[in-house]
């Protein structure tokens, strides 16, 4: 008879080869998913792989392997294959569990690797009792069958391994189905049918269109929301592909407080949020504090402490102009909001009250660099540099410096600018020096003085001294806009090649004389008596200040923002999930562990004892078989054999 198509299909689906292939295929897919970082913004991939491979990989869904159709398809096949396997094996196993094989023939038993043939001179009743007792003592259950040939004991123990097979394989099916319920398959289907469209723009929640909004009917999701202290929200965002979807919640979460506790060493110890759940159905709002590892479950929604960030801290800033010369201005700004500074837009992205970093000396301790804030200054044409500025000066080689980092691309590390702090640990002296250098009139006067004073004998013409002053001004200008590099470049353009070095030395000497006089002017303005020799601090300060001005052009900014004070408002990052699948997955897991341990540690063993009457007495054939763990069965078999033979001849 031809096998039907169905039975061929079932045989294929239930075949071991398919099962092993699927197991290996899932493993390989999982490897791919860990080698290619998942769910990153698309532009990052383009940068990393180039536009060609980006398209190829995107086509293959390699950027979200675990929710791709082909991966779900393999998983589906695994579920199918395991189901078919269980379906096909189940009847056999159930039969096997109740089957004592009491129809085994002598010849078949003799073919088993474990068998032993001996004779007893005891009377048959005695033997039967003895055998029953020994079998029972070893935990065997048995059936007894007598016919014209003799008596057969068919014994077995350990159904666990057979049942374990059913448990564990059913568990896998259950777990996979639970997992699929919690996966984003419904979203994919909704998207395919055009009911859902991913939102990629950064727009306020109230502007998100209905097609990107999921109602409270959505049974399974994982969404995030940042809520500032004192605020509330009844929605969350689901990251999906290269954008997000808005998820409505049937209640409102209000954040009363967010706390970070620290160990004495400064490392974070716990993150906690005090929440109030407001729900029209509740007679009274629910108050609850969540922390990492201690979520809150309400109405099947679980709320986790996931992250934290800034909830719109208020910063008091001092704006130091870095081009042209103006007096500094005060400015109030809010984190995550935009503020106009001249023609530039200030966008503060983050504020941190602490910066606990490993001590750069390599010793096992941490230093707190104090508060910092991070911001962008966007030019009218739309481009922007990003800055990271610390509030307090930082100790470097025993001296204090204000520190600010700048970068023009987000992907680059910050380049830091070190500005020396004056004796009151303030920025004023450095800024006074720098702004004098930027102020043409003030600088011209000092240059003229410098030119005059270097020619103390008054031998040269005023015209020449003016030329010297002009030259100094030009050098100073080059220095401020491009550092020593600009002066070197100027020399290379205007001076013959063989004189470069000589010119360089002269130019720098001239420049430094001017810079020193500018600095002395600043000191005088501070009220320092210049007739006294310079204090060591003040001389060192000049060197540090010149080093800073040398690099000022690298710090590409029109203003420097000094943080004067702040009011810290934190936001807690919550993750809100709904996963009905876990009610399948968790019991499935239990079943799996149970099944696996049963499979390995309750192996099935069978024994047969065939008694036949002979003239000399009773011949006994002991035979046994074990599914696995042969070594231990060897021992048990030997023991039973020894007990049997011993008791069979003793009487």
């Amino acid at each position: 008879m031809q096998p039907s198509t169905l039975s061929i299909l079932l045989r294929f689906l239930g075949s071991m080869n398919l099962a092993i292939t699927l197991l290996v295929a899932i493993a390989v897919a999982a490897v791919i998913g860990t080698v290619v970082q998942q769910n990153q913004p698309y532009p990052d991939y383009v940068l990393k792989f180039g536009p060609f491979w980006f398209e190829v990989f995107k086509g293959l869904d390699l950027f979200n392997v675990y929710s791709s159709s082909w991966f779900l398809c393999i998983l589906g096949f695994l579920v199918l294959s395991t189901s078919v396997c269980v379906y096909r094996n189940l009847p056999g196993i159930l039969r096997d569990v109740n089957d004592y094989r009491e129809h085994s023939q002598r010849n078949a038993l003799l073919r088993l690797p474990h068998h032993h043939d001996f004779e007893s001179n005891l009377d048959q009743q005695h033997i039967l009792t003895m055998i029953a007792a020994i079998l029972k003592n070893h935990g065997y259950r048995f059936r007894q069958k007598a016919d014209q040939n003799g008596v057969l004991f068919a014994a077995k123990k350990g159904n666990g391994s057979r049942l374990g097979y059913i448990f564990s394989h059913v568990a896998i099916i259950v777990i996979c189905i639970g997992g699929l319920m919690d996966g984003n398959l419904p979203l994919k289907i909704g998207e395919m049918r055009g009911n859902i469209a991913v939102e990629t723009r950064r727009i306020p929640a109230s502007d998100i269109p209905a097609i990107s909004t999921l109602s409270t009917d959505n049974a399974s999701f994982r969404a995030n929301i940042d809520i500032a202290e004192g605020s509330a929200a009844d929605l969350a965002f689901i990251d999906y592909k290269d954008g997000y979807l808005l998820q409505k919640l049937p209640f409102t979460i209000q954040v009363n407080d967010f706390r970070i506790e620290h160990y004495p060493s400064g490392q974070p110890k716990s993150f906690e949020s005090d929440l109030t759940i407001l729900d029209a159905e509740l007679p009274q709002p629910v108050q609850h504090t969540i922390s990492v590892n201690h979520p809150l479950t309400y109405k099947g929604y679980t709320i986790y402490q996931n992250s934290f960030g800034d909830g719109g801290s208020k910063l008091a800033l001092k704006v130091w102009p870095l081009s042209g010369s103006h007096t500094p201005a005060a400015l109030q700004a809010t984190v995550k909001q935009f503020t106009q500074i001249g023609d530039q837009q200030l966008e503060i992205s983050d504020f941190r009250p602490f910066n606990v970093n490993p001590d750069p000396s390599g010793a096992k301790q941490f230093v707190n660099l104090g508060p910092s804030f991070q911001y962008k200054l966007r030019r009218p044409e739309g481009t922007a540099n990003e800055y990271l500025t610390y509030m307090q000066p930082i100790l470097q080689e025993g001296r204090w410096f204000y520190l600010s980092g700048m970068r023009s691309k987000v992907s680059e590390p910050f380049i830091y600018w070190f500005m020396p702090a004056d004796q009151e640990k303030r920025l004023d002296r450095f800024m006074a020096l720098y702004q004098t250098l930027l102020n043409p009139q003030a600088l011209a006067a000092i240059a003229q003085q410098t030119a005059d004073s270097s020619d103390s004998g008054r031998q040269s013409q005023p015209k020449d001294r003016e030329a010297v002053a002009q030259f100094m001004l030009k050098l100073a200008n080059q220095f401020v806009t491009g550092g020593y590099d600009a002066i070197t470049a100027g020399i290379e353009q205007t001076v013959a090649a063989d004189k470069h070095q000589e010119a360089g030395q002269v130019y720098v000497a001239v420049l430094q004389r001017l810079l020193k006089n500018v600095y002395l002017q600043v000191l005088q303005d501070e009220g320092i008596d210049l007739n006294q020799p310079l204090a060591e601090f003040d001389s060192q300060f000049m060197l540090d200040a010149i080093a800073a001005i040398n690099l000022a052009h690298v710090y590409d900014a029109v203003v420097f923002l000094e943080m004067q004070s702040f009011q810290h408002i934190e936001a807690t990052g919550l993750q809100i999930t709904r996963s009905p699948g876990k009610w399948l997955v968790f019991p499935g897991c239990l079943l799996l562990v149970l099944g696996v341990f049963c499979m390995f540690y309750l192996p099935q063993r069978r024994l047969w004892l065939l008694l036949e009457s002979r003239e000399t007495g009773t011949s006994i054939l002991l035979a046994g078989s074990a599914q696995r763990n042969r070594y231990d069965f060897d021992k048990e078999f030997a023991l039973i054999k020894q007990q049997l033979t011993q008791h069979s001849t003793s009487a």
Partner: protein, 389 residues
């Protein structure tokens, strides 16, 4: 049925056949657990009390099955208590008290452990070449001593962490340094069990090789990276789940490593069978059938515990990360390891494959496991925050 006759053949039941020692052991374990409960239950949450309540009978049962473990545990417990009480309440005594400074302060104990494991490895090789039983006994004893030092080291470290500050204290399975010690101990204990049960001392040389490699890493990590300091827990690790998830995982890793080394012995022995039938490997190493069986046993044990550990991890993730499965690289690699051994078990049990190809597969499996254990931390980033290199 004739009852008097039946009682003739009656074997004592499981509990009846326990010796007096066994009962003393049980009593000691229960009183130990009782002591811990009485003194520390205020510091424990319900789950931790549950863990304690389960570990005591488990330890009793293990001791009953394996008598040497009783002696081992009692010695380790006695020495640990001695060390902990020498501390009093003062961490700085670790530098001054002789006993602590040179033997039992966790850092010293772990150095002793390292040295002893390396010596044991050398001695096991001595056994392989000399074949003298005495050498084998020395090797086994060294391994036992090393393991004891390791366990004492961890116990004392646990206490030290509390001496650093009540809120810093935590079980020492929280970073790569600590789990490497755990790995060495568990692998050694598993091996010692097989060694006693199956009389396979000659395998020691190969199994201890893996442990020595782990020790090499540990020493590099200590001296080059200064990773041996006790650090407070990051908030995500501060959970009772860690106490069971990590040890279960390392029973898995340890068994898989053991299986791989047995696989290596299998491959070596069967490759030289025809080339040098009279060689050292043929005469000294266990026969191939036993090796094959041991390899299966180790993988089965590892698979069972790895299943358990992965599930415990998933339960923990459900509490800490907002979902039982996030396809985090560490999680994903655990799945890969698990699938790999599932395929191995199917090949062997349902297709009846055995011998050299399966031995090779066990060796390859070790590298997959190694990547899940170390490679992920080194090369991939994810939510598993402990132990970056």
């Amino acid at each position: 049925m004739d009852n008097s006759l039946q009682s003739n053949y009656q074997q004592p039941s499981y509990f009846e056949s326990r010796s007096a020692y066994d009962w003393v052991w049980a009593l000691l374990v229960i009183s130990g657990a009782g002591y811990v409960f009485a003194n520390y239950h205020v510091l424990m949450d319900a789950y931790e009390i549950g863990i304690l309540a389960i570990s005591a009978p488990l330890l009793i049962w293990l001791g009953w099955r394996w008598a040497t473990l009783q002696f081992f545990s009692l010695s380790v417990a006695a020495l640990s208590i001695l060390a902990i009480s020498s501390y009093g309440g003062d961490l700085s005594r670790g530098e001054s008290a002789f006993l602590l400074k040179y033997l039992f302060a966790s850092q010293s104990a772990i150095m002793w452990m390292s040295a002893l494991y390396v010596m044991a490895t050398a001695t096991y090789f001595g056994l392989l070449f000399s074949g003298r039983e005495f050498v084998g006994k020395v090797a086994s004893s060294l391994t036992w001593c090393a393991t004891a030092m390791g366990v004492i080291g961890l116990m004392v470290r646990w206490r030290e962490s509390y001496l650093m500050g009540a809120d810093i204290g935590h079980i020492p399975v929280s970073n790569l340094y600590e789990v490497f010690i755990l790995f060495s101990i568990i692998t050694a204990l598993l091996y010692l069990h097989y060694e006693q049960h199956y009389k396979t001392r000659s395998l020691g040389a190969f199994v201890l090789l893996v442990i020595s490699a782990a020790i090499g890493f540990l020493l590099w990590y200590t001296f080059d990276r200064h990773a041996d300091g006790i650090q407070p827990l990051v908030p995500a690790l501060n959970s009772y789940w860690m106490k069971i998830h990590v040890p279960a995982n390392f029973v898995g890793y340890g068994s898989f490593s053991l299986a791989a080394m047995i696989g290596l012995v299998y491959v070596l022995k069967s490759s030289f069978q025809t080339v040098r039938p009279q060689g050292l490997l043929q005469s000294r190493l266990p026969d191939l059938a036993l090796l094959d069986d041991l390899m299966y046993k180790a993988i089965a044990l590892g698979f069972a515990f790895f299943t358990l550990a992965t599930i415990l991890g998933a339960l923990w993730a459900a509490e800490a990360w907002g979902g039982y499965w996030s396809w985090d690289p560490k999680e994903t690699w655990a799945l890969i390891v698990w699938l790999n051994y599932a395929a191995w078990l199917h090949m062997r049990l349902t297709k009846g494959c055995s011998g050299k190809p399966m031995a090779w597969w066990a060796i390859v499996g070790f590298f997959v496991t190694l990547f899940a254990f170390l490679g992920v931390n080194m090369f991939l980033s994810g939510l598993h925050s402990y132990g970056e290199l």
